[in-house]
């Protein structure tokens, strides 16, 4: 009964390094999301996907890229990490609510990234 799994849970990077966060869900959800959470800012949407092979920009997409090659996986990449990207990253997935669009989100436990 895994739900949404994020790896890694913790990572420290140096400025300019690259890395990929992996999100996997086993609920056959169509929609997947990447959010970042900073103190006092709530959650801000980075990128999202409404299906395999499709991605879209959210509120704060700059400096990040994503891919959804398989329905169950959603990858978030940082090509050249900056200290401003120090944050906690959350992946989420949801079913499609036929009437209302976005349904209930299921979240992973988060990935804490520090960029020095």
């Amino acid at each position: 009964n895994a739900g949404v799994t994020q790896t890694p849970k913790f990572r420290v990077l140096k400025t300019g390094q690259s890395m990929t966060l992996l999100c996997a869900q086993d609920m056959n959800h169509e929609y997947m999301y990447w959010y970042r959470q900073d103190p006092g800012m709530g959650l801000r949407l980075i990128h999202y996907s409404v299906g395999e092979g499709t991605t879209a920009k959210g509120e704060v997409p700059d400096g990040y890229n994503v891919s959804r090659l398989k329905k169950q996986n959603f990858l978030l990449g940082l090509e050249s990490a900056a200290p401003s990207q120090t944050s906690v990253y959350f992946c989420a997935s949801s079913y499609r609510d036929r009437e209302q669009g976005t349904g209930e989100l299921f979240f992973g436990e988060g990935s804490r990234l520090t960029v020095l």
């Binding site: 949404v4 929609y31 999301y33 959010y35 006092g40 800012m41 709530g42 959650l43 801000r44 949407l45 999202y48 409404v50 959210g58 509120e59 959350f90 989420a92 949801s94 499609r96 609510d97 009437e99 209302q100 669009g101 976005t102 349904g103 209930e104 989100l105 299921f106 979240f107 992973g108 436990e109 988060g110």
Partner: protein, 110 residues
């Protein structure tokens, strides 16, 4: 900019009291959702209320939605120490995006 804004930002009450949190938003929505986050954990969905609904209950939770005022409230009755957490409202819009507010930090003292 964030769509939803919670009020208050922090709330401290005694066990057994009721806790009320409010959420205001700016543009039209398809639905509004409330989430809970324990310290250091992911968010957990509490309740979803559609734009054509006015009130919804789930256990000790009661959510109201007033689309004319663009506001919602979450009431937790008979609070417990285990209810200590941050609570977020999130607004669902056309285009499959869910936008979160900054949250209310609730502390329930035993």
């Amino acid at each position: 900019s964030q769509q939803g804004e919670e009020d208050p930002q922090a709330l401290s009450i005694q066990e057994g009291e009721n806790a009320t949190m409010n959420c205001s938003y700016k543009t039209s929505i398809n639905n509004l959702q409330w989430y809970r986050q324990n310290s250091g954990r992911g968010l957990v969905h509490l309740i979803l209320i559609r734009s054509n609904e006015r009130e919804k209950h789930s256990g000790r939770l009661r959510v109201t939605l007033d689309t004319s005022k663009k506001s919602s409230s979450l009431l937790i009755t008979a609070s417990r120490a285990a209810d200590t957490a941050s609570y977020f409202c999130a607004t669902g819009h056309a285009g499959n995006m869910l936008t979160f507010g900054g949250g209310t930090r609730l502390m329930v003292k035993p």
